[in-house]
Each structure stands twice: as structure tokens, then as C-alpha cells.
Symmetry: C2
Subunit: 604 residues, 2 copies
């Protein structure tokens, strides 16, 4: 059964056998994470769509794939429109689509391991009769399914973790005690890795092993993970307060909590956990994964690690930008060769463990594809005089990086429209970087500051402004984002967040300017309550040829000049002489002359 | 049983009789609205606390009242601390408090008519065993409970409503058809009044009659309301497509929907509706009250009505401010007499139907009490040289108004700290008034713009920035607010919203500057999608003595001068000569001289 048409037919036959009139196929695996191993790529296998966010719905007579703004073009390119309708997942949510198209009272199946209770509730609220399946019907027809990954889990040492696992378990235990909870299910492998100070390699880019944990209010912890991943050294590192069990032991372990109060994350945990616990007679307490906040708020060792990692990463990035300053006008490189060169420069840095995500290396019209991933087929030369967007990052033992720059590749003057748009993106970037805000503020309240300068010109971008970043963990880490859909989770000191407004002109070019930020206490002696501010971690120049200083106000110019001075001072010494000289030149204060200088800005 | 201690004892005895270990007492009545008739003031009767938002929780050995930042001081003043703990409802939500303090597995009672399903879910998520009661145990012990209000419902004529009720019912019916819903429960009396073009007077300030409606997908509508409110003229106005029934007929009417899909608002409707429908075999579809959005987006007749009502209201307010310019320095008036004078000036205006809420007339330290309500006991003279805050509004047949001004009452120069704070509040007000934003933007994304100038100085305010306003309906109207807790409902053209940042220094003074805004399409020819902007409806000067122009940037000064010029031009002709001359003077462009003029601003 190889064609996608045949797969859809086979699934419909399987659903009929199960007495189901419909079925939902999320992109997620049983960890509900961003990356999915080949063994769990059910959505891609069924539909052909390989984007990192999406969901398919299958009914007897029609089927649809839903994804977000990043992947609308990719969805259209990868799926057969005679089989699959394509929809924007927020403009037309799947529950409403199902309620409108499924026969009244139809039984709609779902795999409770692949969806959270909160997402599931949206289907019930739409009046749909949702039916969990014990075994995923796709697995029954996916005959050549790859094996699950099995990569060694390794210790994450104190010099980088900053806190012992025993100390972390004690903190989580006291959180559970305070909430009168007897235990919590830790279903996010990044949380498990944080909690137990381990790392791994089951997935690309995300350096943790796949597994679940249960932690009790006295701190006792059980790790459910393929024992083949856990060698003697790692078992010794985990210590005898952490029991290790086969994944198959999980359901019996949950049954032990009959009559107890167990915390489960209704957003981040598969619904299977709450359903299994309730069936076992446990009281399910809905609450966020207790590791989320402590993991997001980096401790002082992790904060210093982030600064160190960013300084090393900056040396690689600045060497790359210097190289690009010659390669661009020469037209001698491609999207793939440039990304490979950047990766090679990073690989020279101490502690480098790999990229933190597949670099987005898109020139000209490819830059407008927000999550463009260059392939041998799409690869094209970087030509002189176009906008080249490179969004990339690295995993180092002491921290995770993520940076985007948009570079004008030629010696001609960029078109004024492009300069104006890029300057508005920069204004949004600076508005975020300079914010001061009270503790308790959440990301959805701040997102608009990154957009106002664009909005004033009728422009916008269809993605969030910011995501959390882990400490040698996921480059996309919860619980805080800056976006219109952000959950109301307050920002807190120690969090690392991206700052990445953009603008995209389909078919022509894309602009995105991204630094990472570290949330810090703001020192405001007059304040009646605590305030927070951002420290910018990322150190690399913005392309001044894309900045129109006439659109910047004096405080924005001052911020940019100070930032560039800091880049030159901190990164320059780590560069070869020619790159250092180049960096000195491109980080000079904004020009005063030629009719675009400060005089215009300052109204003199 | 008259003392609050006795009432609490009696309630505990009643709970024991019912086999309940706890009980929650929301402030709401069975319409979940802002105002509650005396017959439903259960929270006030039980605890003594009369704020407009709150909830009490009673356990065998302890009891607590929760309220929001507006009422923290009032809660402490009105409740007996030996009986009632006081808590901030967002900082320490009742479900968490209950989970921490109730015995494990305790049965916690609630009246399903007084709480929505969404609020109820928070208790279940905390692992609490919630038990609905058929009859409210407070009603059993409240022996001298007043009768429910019964005021005539009257027609709201087309010249003000702008659309026939038949047209509105057809729109709602088509919304239900599109959602594959057979019917919807309309449980918000303001929605019922909008849908059927009726108004009433069961509650103070809110000009609608209390009642529910059911509307089916073919447009047939049943109104559940005490028939004594419906005279012959109103019955004729409702027409024969609207059946009228006793409130007691509601449960049997819901039972008719067995097997049908009925839309119920999980936030705005009492949980009793969904529970009763499910018991009857209906499929409950969770969805917002279908009238909310059409009601919030005022039609052209309502928009013109709002402009007309605001112009008349402005004449009354400007006469009041002129009067205050002399009464303030003379020290001849009190908080009560000033509010009464403003009411009297408004009552002279055509179409005046009453105040839209109890005026907040607070001078000096009373201004810092965000929802201060002057009483004969608290009333005090308005003394020269203090900050006087007056937040007031009116109901006119063609529109609802709501305005706050903060006035310096003397001839001395205000303290610089006060001027700086007031100017930062004004900067926030202007930031909102001048926003341009894409369709799809929700209030929580915009709230921060009103706060940034305050945040930069370590200041903030503990209330939302904006609420929706009805058209001769509730002055607080959903579904859109600008606040950190706002639901993600997009703003849309035709909505009327307040713009009211503030700053409060407890024990000293309060500052709030409020205008109403009308959401309008923005004309941005270059934009790739629709954008929106605000028109300011309210017309009254801001006290320039409280503005430090050195803190304003040139675009802010230009906005203020243009706004003041518009106030003088549009309101001046409606004023007596002396008030008109005064208005001309206080709306002049900001001063250029004396070291605080534009020269400093413009950097020349």
C-alpha cells in the first residue's frame, strides 16, 4: 500500500471495521513535542504533508489537512487536492469543520496518546461524539513503519545544569505538596531531561531522550524509558532515588494511584494519562507540568552558560557574515552551501553539539516562505543584490542559540520599499528589546509592541514574535511565547526568549531580525512592585544598508548604536583580523550625512 | 437571624443538612450580569461585601471572600475578619484555595443557576467534587428576602435600534444553521433586549428587562419573562413570531430539544442550562452567545446615535467642568453635590434616561479607590488644590456614554510628581486612541500600549484599559475588553470601547482619563489585509494643568491639540457664552513658552 490514495482508502476501511465514522490524525507523537521520530510520522505517511504543525481529519466522503500560516504554501504543494482539502488551522478550526461536515451523532475516533485533554475538549464542545481507540488504526495499515529511536541517554553535568537533580526533585515535590497533589505525570521529555539532568539524541536538534516520568510528593521518581538507552554510567548518575521501568510498566504504575490526587497537564500531556488515571480511580488535578516554570527560569549557571554560548556562537556568526559580505556580491554560493558554511564555522566552537533546528537559508523569494527548508531541489544561488534571510542556531553544552539576520547581498542600494519595511521590522525589534514591564505580564500583552511600526504602514507578519529557548534543550521551549495566541503565563526573571519580528512579501523576499533575550529584574527604585526588562544575548550586526535612519527616532538610533558598539567590543577580539576590521566598519554609528542622518531625525 | 455571624452559622447548618462540606456563593444572580437586584444579593446578605465582583467560599471551619483589585480595600472594610478571610481573586483563585483547604474528597455544593460551565470547570480541574443543588441553601435561611423586580418592558423603536427584530432573528438563525445548531439559549438579558428590540428597568443603570430567550434555527423565538412585565403594546411590538412564556416553562421547553444540538455559552450562561439540556438528551454545543458580536458591532443608525448622544453629553459635561473650574477653587462643593450637579445638567439633555452607572466622584485620597462610590458617610468637600476624579455616564435613547476626567481643583501649580504621572496616563490614552491594527487583533494584545509610558517609570494600574459599551444598553458590554485577562475575541468595526488608563496613589489621589472609542475601518490602500482604527466619540477637555508637555513627543502634542480644537468647535456652540469662552481657553494649543514648550520636545 504505497500511494497516498491507497493509504486513505485503507484507513477508511479500518475505520469502518472499528465502527468509526471519522478519525483525527494529529502531527504529534505520544510526547506532543515539536519533533517526531520517523516511527511516528503518521500525518506525513498518510497525507504527504511534512510541516511541523498540522492535523488531518478523515470522514467517509471527505478529508482535510489543517495547518498554520507558516505552512499554507507547503501544504498546498505536498498534498493531493483531489484527496485532501487544505485549511488554515486557526481561521477554520478542525472541530468546527467536523461539526459542519460529519453526519449528526457520528462517532469520531482519536488516539488518546496523541492529543491533550484541552485540545480534545474543543471537539466535545462542538457537540462531537469523540471515541478513543486502544490501538491507532494507522499503525495497523502502516506495514513498513520504522523502528522507534533508541539513542543513549547521557548525564548533563552540574557545571552546565547548575543544580543537582535531587534539588530539582525536591522543588517539584514541594510544589506538589503545596497543591495537595500526591504525584505528577511528567510527560514532556524535555521536562524529564531537565528534572533528571540527562540529555540524549532520540530526535534531531532536540538533545533529550524520549521517555516519561512520574514524581511523587515525597520526591520519589520513576522513569519510563527503553532500558537500552540507559547505560551503567547514566544509571549511576540517576541515583537510587530514581527507579527505571519499561514503558509498558506505565499503565500498571498509574493504577497504583487509585484514590490519590495526580496532577496532569491538560494542554501538554496526552489525554491517555488523565483517562487511564480516572479509570483507575485516581483524582486528576489539571495543572501545568510542574517542571515548565523552573525549567524556563534559568539558574545563574545556566544564565552564564547562555552568555558564554552566545559569545562563541557570535564569533561563528560574525565570521559567516564577513564571509557572506564577499560571497554575496560574487554570486558564488547557494542557500545550501551558505548554511553548510555557517554550520562548519559553528562546529569549530568548543562545546558545539549540533544545530538547534534546520537552518532556514532562503534568498530572494524563498525568504518569504516563513519556515523554508532548503532541499537539493529548491536550492538556488545567492545572487547579488537580493535579500537573503538566514535563521539558524546551535546546541552547545552550556546553551542553545537561535539568530536570524537578513542581509542585502549586493553593492547596489536596496530598493527603498525594502529598506522601509526592514526598518519597521527593526523598530519592532527595538521596541521589544527596550521594554520594561511589571512582573505578571504575559507574552500576549507584549506581542503588539513588535508590530506597531508595521501596523502603521498596513503591514504585519503571520507568526509569533517570540518563543522560549531551553538551556541545551529545545530551541522552542514553553510556557511563554509572545504571540496573539499566547497562553496567559507571566514572564519571569531567568527566562530566555526570542525577539523576532518580520515582514514577508510573497514571491519576492522575507525580512526577519532575531536576537535572544534574557529576562532580568529591572531596577526601578520608585516602583511599588517588581518590574522586569530584557538583556539581549545575541551579538551580531544588523545590516545597516537595510536601515533607513529617517524612520528611527533618537532613542532607537541610540539603542542600535550601543548594541553595535557592544557587538564590536565583545565579538571583535575573537575574530581573525580581516573579519574584525570588517566588524568594526559595519558596527559604526549610523551615518549622519547624505541626507539620511540624525539631523533629519532630531528635527534640527 | 440578622448578624452576619448568625447567617454564616445558619448556612453551615443548612449545608450539613444537605450533606455538603462546602459551598460557593458567587455575587452573580441567574443572569450572570453585572447588576444584581436586591432579591439576588446573596453574597452581600451573607458577608456584608457589596462590591460588584466577588465570590465567597464556605467550609466547616473557615470561610473566605475573593474579589479583584478594584475592591480589595472595600472588602477589608465591609467584612468581619474573624469570620471571613479576604483574598485577591486572580492572585489566589478560589478553586486552588478550596483544593488546599477542603478535606480530601469533600462534596462542595454550588447553585448551577449562578455560575457558568467554564467557571465551574476550574473547580473540577482542581480535583474538587462539585455538587449542584436544586435549591439554593441561602434562600432557605434568607427569610426577609425582597421580591424580584417587575418593571414594564417597552419597545426600542427602529429610529434608535436601526434594525428590525425580525432581521436580527434571521441573522441569528442563519448563524445557527451555519454551525449546524438547532437552537441557542440566549441567557443574557442584554442580548434578549437587543434581539427583540425591547428595553426595561428591572435593574438600576442597565435599561433592559430580566428574562431568557430560546431561538431556533428557523428563527422562531420564545421569551421567558414574567408576563406582568409585558403589556399589550409590547406584546404587539414583539409580534407573533415571538412566543411569551412564564419563567417556570423554561425547563419543560428545554426538554423538547432531546436529540437536538443546542448552543449554550459556556462562559456567559448558567451551567444549569447545559446540565438540564444534557439530562434531557440534547447535544450541548459550546459557543458564545450568538447575539454578542452582532450586538457589539453597532449598525450605522446606532453609530450615528452614539455620536449624537456623545455630543449632547459633552455639552452637559463641559458645562459641569466650567462650573467646577469655579466651584473647585472656592471649596464650595462636595463629592455628592458635584455628582448631583452633573446628573442634573445631563437630565436637561433630550433623550436622557438616567445615569449609565453610579458616578465615581472622588476627590483627593478617594480618587485612589478605583471604584469609589460616595455615600453620605464618606462624602467630603472638594477642597482647592487637589486632584478630583469624576467617572460618570448616561443612558440616552440613542446611546450610552461613559467619561472620566481628573481635574486639578485649585489655582496653585499641581505637584510635579502628579503632573508627570497624569502625563504618562495621557500618553497611554493617546497611544490607544492613535492605534492602527489588523482585523483579528484582540484586546489583550492592545492593553499594553496604554501602560508602556507608566511602566517605564515603574508605575501601573490594577484594572483593565477598556470595556465594550452598549447602545442604550449595558455600559459594560462584552465580548471585547482591553486587559491582561481579555478573551481572545477580535475587535471589529462598529464596536464602542472605552479608553481609560489610570494611576492611583493609595491614600493620596487617583488619575484616570477616559473617552469612548468607535472602531472604524482604517483606510490603508497599501495593506494586504483589512486594518482598523479608533474614532474618539467623547468630547471634553483634558485638564492641561496636569499635563507636562516636556514628556510628550510631537505626535502626542499634535493629537491633543487637534482633539481639543475639535472639542471647542463641536461642543462650544451648544454652551452658554461664559462656558463657551472658558472652553475656548482651556482647549487652546499647549503652551510654547516658560521652558516647557515645544522647543524642548522638538529638540531644536
Amino acid at each position: 500500500m504505497s500511494s497516498v490514495a491507497g493509504r486513505l482508502l485503507a484507513l477508511r476501511a479500518e475505520l469502518q471495521r472499528l465502527g468509526l465514522q471519522g478519525f483525527i490524525v494529529p502531527r504529534a507523537d505520544e510526547y506532543l513535542g515539536e519533533y517526531v521520530p520517523p516511527s511516528a510520522e503518521r500525518l506525513a505517511w498518510l497525507t504527504g504533508f511534512t510541516g511541523s504543525a498540522g492535523l488531518a481529519v478523515v470522514l467517509p466522503d471527505r478529508a482535510a489537512v489543517f495547518t498554520d500560516g507558516r505552512y499554507v504554501l507547503q501544504l498546498a504543494a505536498q498534498t493531493d487536492p483531489t484527496l485532501w482539502e487544505g485549511h488554515h488551522i486557526t481561521d477554520e478550526p478542525p472541530p468546527g469543520w467536523l461539526a459542519a461536515h460529519a453526519p449528526a451523532g457520528a462517532a469520531i475516533g482519536y488516539d488518546p496518546r496523541l492529543i491533550g485533554e484541552e485540545a480534545l475538549a474543543r471537539y466535545a464542545e462542538a457537540g462531537l461524539a469523540m471515541r478513543p481507540v486502544d490501538d491507532n488504526p494507522i499503525d495497523a495499515i502502516w506495514t513498513d513503519r520504522p523502528a522507534a529511536p533508541c539513542t543513549p541517554a547521557v548525564p548533563h553535568r552540574l557545571e552546565h545544569a547548575g543544580r543537582s537533580a535531587a534539588d530539582k526533585r525536591a522543588e517539584i515535590a514541594s510544589l506538589l505538596q503545596a497543591g495537595k497533589q500526591d504525584a505528577a505525570a511528567i510527560t514532556d521529555p524535555a521536562s524529564v531531561a531537565w528534572l533528571l539532568n540527562i540529555r540524549g539524541g532520540d530526535l534531531p536538534y532536540a538533545p533529550f531522550p524520549l521517555g516519561y516520568a512520574l514524581i511523587e510528593a515525597d520526591g520519589r521518581t520513576e522513569l519510563f524509558m527503553d532500558p537500552a538507552k540507559l547505560g551503567a554510567e547514566t544509571r549511576a548518575w540517576l541515583g537510587n532515588q530514581v527507579a527505571v521501568a519499561e514503558p509498558a510498566a506505565l499503565a500498571p504504575a498509574l493504577a497504583r494511584f487509585a484514590g490519590k490526587r495526580v496532577r496532569v497537564d491538560p494542554a501538554g500531556s496526552p489525554a491517555w494519562f488523565a483517562q487511564t488515571l480516572r479509570r483507575s480511580g485516581a483524582v486528576v488535578v489539571a495543572g501545568p507540568d510542574p517542571c515548565l516554570l523552573p525549567k524556563a527560569c534559568k539558574n545563574p549557571v545556566e544564565q552564564q552558560g547562555a552568555r558564554d554560548a552566545h559569545l562563541r556562537d557570535a564569533a561563528a556568526v560574525c565570521r559567516f557574515l564577513h564571509w557572506l559580505a564577499f560571497a554575496g556580491p560574487a554570486g558564488s554560493e547557494t542557500e545550501m552551501s551558505a548554511a553548510a558554511h555557517l554550520r562548519a564555522l559553528r562546529a569549530e566552537m568548543p562545546g558545539f553539539r549540533g544545530e538547534s533546528f534546520p537552518a532556514i537559508s532562503g534568498t530572494g523569494e524563498h525568504g518569504a516562505i516563513i519556515h523554508y527548508r532548503v532541499t537539493p531541489e529548491s536550492n538556488r544561488p545567492i545572487r547579488p543584490n537580493e535579500a537573503y534571510l538566514i535563521d539558524s542556531g546551535a546546541q552547545y553544552l552550556d546553551g542553545t542559540t537561535d539568530i536570524t539576520r537578513t542581509i542585502w547581498t549586493g553593492r547596489s542600494r536596496p530598493p527603498q520599499a525594502l529598506r522601509e519595511q526592514a526598518t519597521r521590522v527593526l523598530k519592532g525589534h527595538i521596541a521589544i528589546a527596550t521594554l520594561v514591564f511589571p512582573q505578571g505580564t504575559s507574552g500576549v500583552q507584549l506581542d503588539g509592541f513588535a508590530r506597531r511600526a508595521l501596523w502603521q504602514a498596513g503591514l504585519d507578519y503571520d507568526h509569533g514574535t517570540s518563543h522560549g529557548v531551553g538551556s541545551y534543550l529545545s530551541v522552542h521551549e514553553g510556557p511563554v511565547t509572545l504571540s496573539r495566541h499566547a497562553r496567559p503565563v507571566p514572564l519571569a526573571a531567568g527566562m530566555i526568549l526570542s525577539n523576532e519580528p518580520g515582514y514577508y512579501l510573497p514571491g519576492q523576499y522575507g525580512i526577519r531580525l532575531e536576537n535572544l533575550l534574557l529576562v532580568q529584574p529591572a531596577e526601578l527604585p520608585e516602583a511599588a512592585k517588581p518590574f522586569l526588562r530584557f538583556d539581549t544575548l545575541t551579538l551580531a550586526p544588523f545590516d545597516r544598508r537595510l536601515i533607513d535612519p529617517r524612520l528611527l527616532d533618537p532613542t532607537e538610533i541610540a539603542w542600535l548604536d550601543a548594541y553595535h558598539a557592544r557587538v564590536a567590543e565583545q565579538v571583535g577580539p575573537a575574530l581573525p583580523t580581516d573579519a574584525c576590521d570588517w566588524l568594526e566598519a559595519v558596527t559604526a554609528p549610523l551615518p549622519l550625512s547624505a541626507g539620511e542622518g540624525r539631523r533629519v531625525q532630531r528635527g534640527g
